[in-house]
Symmetry: C2
DNA sequence: CGTGGTTTTGATCATAATCAACGTCTGTGG
DNA sequence: CCACAGACGTTGATTATGATCAAAACCACG
């Protein structure tokens, strides 16, 4: 486990508009700096935490991309999300003081480690932080509602279109291109997330390409016709 | 909107082992009584809150059963959960100060209304309450991971078996029979929750009956062979 | 420059959706 | 209390969607 003890302030972090400090006053911001105990590097394919491990901290992603996955007894597993810079992971561990999923880095990554007892302590004093913690958890619940909608009532093309648009939108919010992106995950991981097999992902991407909606070469993807993708998701929007 | 202002104490509520007061000391319990502003009755088919409504409160279910559902633009909707006595609903509203799903009573029901600003205020002082609020939200996140697993990687029979066992287990925790239960929801609602059509639910129930796993007459259901249902979910558990 | 993981594409199959008809229960008003 | 309408549930026949099986191409990496 690689950790770095150099203290780096949230107040000077370029993610402060996306991450934990959102909406805090300058004075409050300084206090948040204290809860980031340290940083930790996680290399590609390594786990940040695993199902069954003791829960101690939430993690703010500084760089890189993670997937979270849950496993059933018989080995099947389900990707429950892909997380990128500024997003908080580890919330699943709070309820039983142990993690219930694995967090795996999809590329070499770095996270800020925030011991949860420190968060609880500070959020008793800093109202804005308390509110923010509640919002982060609520946002995750709402996101999962969206995934349930996806998995429960959309067809393969709709799921993939929604996935690509969501990815592009989140990357754009982080200063990347609105249309060009690199898939950090395999077709199989996308499939697991969307409840489809990797062959279906591959075929559907090819279909989107034939129709001129996107351009894909390997993991590099360009969205050519975002409006057409959006129409796929909401067909009855006449 | 029917509301009742008679104050009823959590401390004397028969749900105190399941609901908001879990794990609180007697002294803390009294303070929680203060956050239950009032009760509200919701009749069958009526909504407790709707997508788009201003978020003000969390609700603890006292009696009855609810479903929550999200809707896509084009009218399709997805049931995201069924909630019963002692469970807390409304968490989706925290992030944007407005609800993002509908909560519909499946039978005449009653909830305790807990204004969220009061909860936040009190949980700054009562550590056990703060912890509990975090656990409730984390538990919901973990539950939704389970639903994603269900929807993403299980077949119709597995989904329905898991659903029935989960329902029976939760009812049993509330003092009802471990094996006998009344489905408060239609086949269509079960189907929406499980990402299946109502005909598939009906057929699969019939199949379970033919195989002697359950007995169904209308909404009345008896689990005859819980072990066999469990084996359906984890086939490779040899 | 090979080796293994990843991706594409084709052929076939299985599962659940769809379409359709009928049966059954519930609740409401006469 | 009964009759009726409408919602709910069951079952059958057929179809569509995506899974599975298989083979080959491609790429990244050591």
């Amino acid at each position: 486990m690689k950790t770095v003890n150099i203290k780096v302030a949230c107040s000077s972090c370029n993610l402060r508009e996306l991450c934990m400090p959102v909406g805090l006053e300058p004075g409050e911001l300084q206090r948040i700096d204290d809860i980031v105990a340290k940083r930790r590097k996680v290399r590609r394919r390594e786990t940040l935490f695993r199902n069954g491990e003791r829960f101690t901290s939430l993690y703010a992603i500084r760089t890189g991309v993670f997937k979270t996955r849950v496993a059933s007894q018989d080995g099947r597993d389900q990707v429950t999300g892909f997380q990128m810079a500024g997003e908080i992971i580890g919330l699943d561990g709070i309820v039983n003081d142990q993690h219930t999923c694995d967090a795996v880095a999809l590329e070499d990554s770095e996270v800020c480690v925030m011991p949860f007892d420190r968060i609880e302590e500070l959020s008793r004093e800093v109202t804005a932080l308390q509110r923010h913690v509640h919002q982060i958890m609520s946002r995750e619940i709402v996101r999962e509602h969206g995934v349930m909608m996806l998995l429960g009532s959309m067809r393969a093309e709709e799921r993939l279109a929604a996935f690509l648009l969501n990815l592009a939108q989140r990357l754009h919010a982080r200063g990347f291109s609105r249309s060009e992106l690199v898939l950090r995950m395999t077709r199989e991981e996308i499939g697991s997330y969307l409840g489809l097999k990797l062959e279906t992902i591959s075929r559907t991407l090819s279909k989107f390409m034939d129709e001129g909606l996107i351009e894909v070469h390997q993991r590099n993807l360009r969205i050519l016709d975002p409006e057409a993708l959006r129409r796929l998701i909401t067909p009855a929007a006449c």
